[in-house]
């Protein structure tokens, strides 16, 4: 491996695959920004009055920034200046709360004449550099509580300030640093537990307690099976039961609609007492309405947990016991979510979570956005409607379609093929960053690389996830493709710094 790098020229020692991904995504993003705004009156592709025209300006300036970082600024500066840079950015983050202008309900923007800029975007870079600087010290060990807390503090400070700015979405990206921490030795169980907790909470609020408990049961049993190496049996019995149980709500619905005329009206929450009375009076099956799928699920899973605890005690199989406990705690969480959410949280906290999860009754209608976005993407089909031929995006059904919802244009006009292409391109780019990071000798470069990969991944997954309805609506842009200078500049700089650090590494070979 090392042999092959010998005798390379400077040009060859840049990761051109990574840079090509970058350029492809930026240009594809520009094409789609034009597609999403061309239906609006006036302006051609290049006209500066349109977003596509402005985006060209942002791209050119971003390339200038990249060139400066790669060719002009000494790479050592990123290592030595990390601490000052970090402190400076945290200061900016706090200052913007008092000095910034309010955009869409959050105070997170500085305004200098025509240019607006969001410190939260640079904060991702400064935090990454700071983490790399601190964690690359030779005596740093993440398994030590003190060091772990230090890393958590570095991540937590900007994150909390950003939450205070009402930019909860941007703050969520910082959760992604957990992947980097895992790479640097954090135990996998913490990752698992955090994942499970978030999953349970989100599923309970957005889907239903039924889905949450079923998912929890599937995951717990999967790890149990993994632990005793009986994956085959789990696939046979576990997946089979899971599949039946996931069909159960549908089956019960079907029965209710078959036997109770108008059952759907009742379930839709029709508030007409008269209609309700008529429906109930006209059916001798109305008791069926009281049957809920959750009863079956709880009857099936709840008795298993105490049995597993007893068995674990007798056989001293602590993994089994821990799993059963985790499952019970999970069910407790599912049922306390409502209580936590409605009775413990303060009004403004709750509303923030509601916005976060797309449950909020706000006038712009978050649910409307997701629905329209899914219609636009879904209507694209296999190969899409063709460039500039999308009706949903052209007619302006999708809000924020050149910024946060740019993926809709891809979905509608380029279809499944285009979407898979974009996801693979991002995936490949992140993979390149991880591979490059692993190849580096300097811990600094490796840690920074993982930070970049984590941020990109979080943005990618949350953004695309929200447009296709598997993530709550969190207003964060699709890196490199979404319209907007702040985000493009920040990601360009972030990647450029990694490219130049990587370039330094390659020089050694």
């Amino acid at each position: 491996m090392i042999e092959s790098f010998k005798g390379r020229s400077i040009g060859q020692s840049f990761d051109w695959k990574l840079l090509s991904c970058y350029l492809l995504l930026v240009i594809f993003g520009l094409l789609n920004i034009y597609a999403s705004v061309h239906g609006e009156a006036g302006g051609t592709f290049l006209s500066f009055s349109t977003r596509s025209g402005k985006q060209i300006v942002w791209i050119v300036t971003a390339l200038v920034i990249a060139a400066l970082i790669i060719f002009a600024i000494p790479p050592e500066l990123w290592v030595s200046g990390a601490v000052i840079f970090y402190i400076f950015v945290v200061f900016l983050l706090v200052a913007v709360i008092f000095l910034g202008v309010e955009v869409k309900g959050s105070r997170s923007w500085f305004e200098f004449g025509p240019v607006r800029f969001q410190p939260a975007e640079i904060s991702k870079i400064s935090t990454s550099l700071m983490l790399a600087a601190v964690m690359s010290r030779s005596n740093f060990k993440i398994s030590k509580l003190k060091d772990f807390l230090l890393a958590a503090l570095i991540i937590g400070v900007p994150m909390l300030v950003i939450v205070a700015e009402d930019e909860t979405g941007s703050a969520l990206v910082y959760v992604g640093f957990i992947f980097m921490l895992y790479r640097e030795g954090l135990t996998g169980w913490i990752l698992m537990l955090i994942g499970l907790t978030i999953l349970t909470f989100v599923l309970t609020l957005t889907a239903s307690p039924y889905t949450a408990i079923l998912t929890l049961a599937m995951i717990t049993t999967f790890f149990l099976a993994l632990n005793i190496r009986k994956i085959g049996k789990w696939i046979l019995y576990g997946l089979g039961t899971g599949a039946i149980m996931s069909l159960l709500p549908w089956l019960i619905n079907l029965l209710q609609e078959e036997f109770i005329p108008g059952a759907a009206l009742l379930r839709d929450g029709l508030d007409d007492a008269w209609v309700k009375a008529t429906i109930l009076a006209n059916s001798s099956w109305h008791w069926l309405l009281k049957v809920k799928p959750i009863y079956f699920l709880l009857a099936l899973t709840l008795p298993a947990a105490p049995a597993a605890l007893v068995k674990s005690y007798r056989k001293k199989d602590y993994f089994l016991g821990a799993s059963a406990l985790a499952f019970l705690v999970g069910i407790f969480m599912v049922y306390s979510t409502d209580f936590l959410f409605n009775d413990v949280l303060q009004d403004h906290q709750r509303s923030r979570i509601e916005v976060l999860l797309g449950m909020r009754d706000d006038p712009s209608g978050v649910g409307y956005n997701v629905n329209q976005s899914m219609i636009a993407i879904g209507s694209g089909g296999l190969s899409g409607k063709g460039y500039l031929n999308g009706t949903q995006t052209t007619y302006g059904f999708v809000p924020e379609q050149s910024t946060d919802f740019i993926f809709c244009t891809v979905g509608e006009e380029w279809g499944f093929v285009g979407c898979v292409g974009v996801i693979l391109l991002y995936g490949f780019m992140i993979m390149r960053i991880i591979i490059d990071a692993e190849h580096s000798r300097e811990h600094f470069t490796r840690i920074y690389g993982y930070c970049v990969a984590s941020c990109l991944f979080m943005h990618l997954f949350i953004n695309i996830g929200m447009t296709i309805g598997i993530m709550p609506v969190i207003g964060i842009p699709l890196p490199l493709m979404s319209y907007g200078g702040s985000s493009l500049w920040a990601f360009t700089a972030m990647i450029a710094i990694f490219v130049v650090l990587d370039h330094e590494e390659r020089k050694y070979f």
Partner: protein, 614 residues
Amino acid sequence: MVARERNLLIGLGVAAVILIARLFIIQIVDTSYKESASNNSMVYDIIYPTRGVIYDRNGKILVGNKVAYDILVTPNEVGEFDTLLLASVLKTDPQAIRNKMAEYRRNRSRIGYQSMVMMKQLSPEDYMRFAEVQYKFPGFKGQVRSIRDYPINAGGNLLGYVSEVDASFIAAHPGEYRSGDYAGKTGIEAAREKDLRGVKGYHIYLRNSRNQIEERYKGGAMDKEAVPGHDIVTTIDADLQQYGQELMANKVGSVVAIEPKTGEILSMISSPGIDVSMLADIGKHYSEIVSDPYKPMFNRTVQASYPPGSVFKLVNGLIGLQEGVLDTKMAYPCNRGYRYSGNHKLGCHAHRSPLVLEEAIMMSCNGFFCYVLKSILENRKYKTIEDAFDRWREYVVSFGFGRKLGSDFPAELGGTIPTSKYYDKIYGKGGWKFTTVVSLSIGQGEIGVTPLQIANLSATVANRGYYYIPHIVKDSPGVEIAPKFHERQYTEVDTTEFKKVIQGMWRAVNSGFGSGGTASIAAVPGLDICGKTGTAQNPHGADNSVFICFAPKDDPKIAIAAYIENAGFGATWACPIASLMVEKYLNGSIAEGQRKDLEKRVMEGNLLDRVHVK
């Protein structure tokens, strides 16, 4: 360490697979998004057809259409607005508007970018006031809508009303109506709904998410124009109907007038009725109408079942003649009634005795008709009284009693004529005889008929033995009525027998006061009115006043029945009302003098206090 890199790369792969799998489902497996997409960009602008106009027999408009405005709101487009100003412009309560907006907010996911009807049927004047300030209320707009207009106050119950369809109505007519449509609910509006409603059309537009119309879809090639409803020509004479309503003011009962030659219903008055001014906006007046103790919604002409009283003597007389147990020379005595079973007596008033059929009809003798029914039921031709009774019933039914006549009017009821089994059940087989059913002789007892059936009897006698099924809609271009309405329906009594009772009816009216004729008050010189009074017992208070007549005697143009609840003798109220209507119809006006005075007395008469209400 390499294991962790591997795990993270696997995780990256899993995340990519999750996204791709979800995309696969919504883009390729699930087709509903594609349908939503076309619904999204296409907006169907429903074009409501104008409802058919309802005319009277002389071409006067009974029900027309006029313009009103609904206020529509697209909640998604509404921002902050001046609720107080809007409320004052729309003449409503600010809280009502706030409540509506809150309701839309609650259902916003179901509403989406649809427009909701916030207020209905504003007059053009009110709408203009709104239009002046409309620019201050983005998201609010007016939609023109045609509503029913009633130029003449004639026949509220008859015409029926049109109102917005509700969930149960839509369910009862699958595929025909959508929420927001209007349909005829009662009367002619309901009976001829299919002709009147027309066919809805639509224009398809492409719109954007702000509900702004961008262009016509395919230049309007896929649009469908609305087809207006067919006009309906009714058999009603608007002037006669209106005049009858005026006569019936403050009285409870019915008047039905039929043209005997065709079976066309000239007027059909159920009093108290629904004023046409309430019909246009029935929703607003509904509770008021329903809570009225005199039940204006109840169409007495086809739904009330009354004992017919003495007018039924005509039927018994005709059956007697047909059965051969009665002839015009046969005389029976009547000394203030008919005595039977020892001490029992069916009373009668003072008149000459003995008397023949013609005189018995003229003077409405009770005793005479007891003998008639006795000879019908005790006829040796039949082995038992049951057989004789059932034969009698067959005759009665052939006159249109005891069953629905089959008119084109919705909600018609059939009344009741008892069968022999009915009495068998009560008294046991062979346990009853003529005297048990003696009241039937004079149209009392276990017998119920509707005013429409009584009017039909009048038309049958006028036609000398047949009738046309009474109906309310005439043939007109595009609307053809069922052939049964053009077929003569004969009774089981020979047509030759009818002239024998008609002479008695003529004498009842035209013999002058003091002659003993019961309906002298109905006489109009030159009109040759033939009539028969009736006084039917009413368990709730005073007797019901009944009168049937037709005129002119030899070329009947109108046959009429008046049935007034708790109004006493037939001659006091029913007789003047029916005769005034005949005079109005045939002469066009009421003669000065006595007749005018009579008209005045009738119109001013208020009998509501006599009526027993719950």
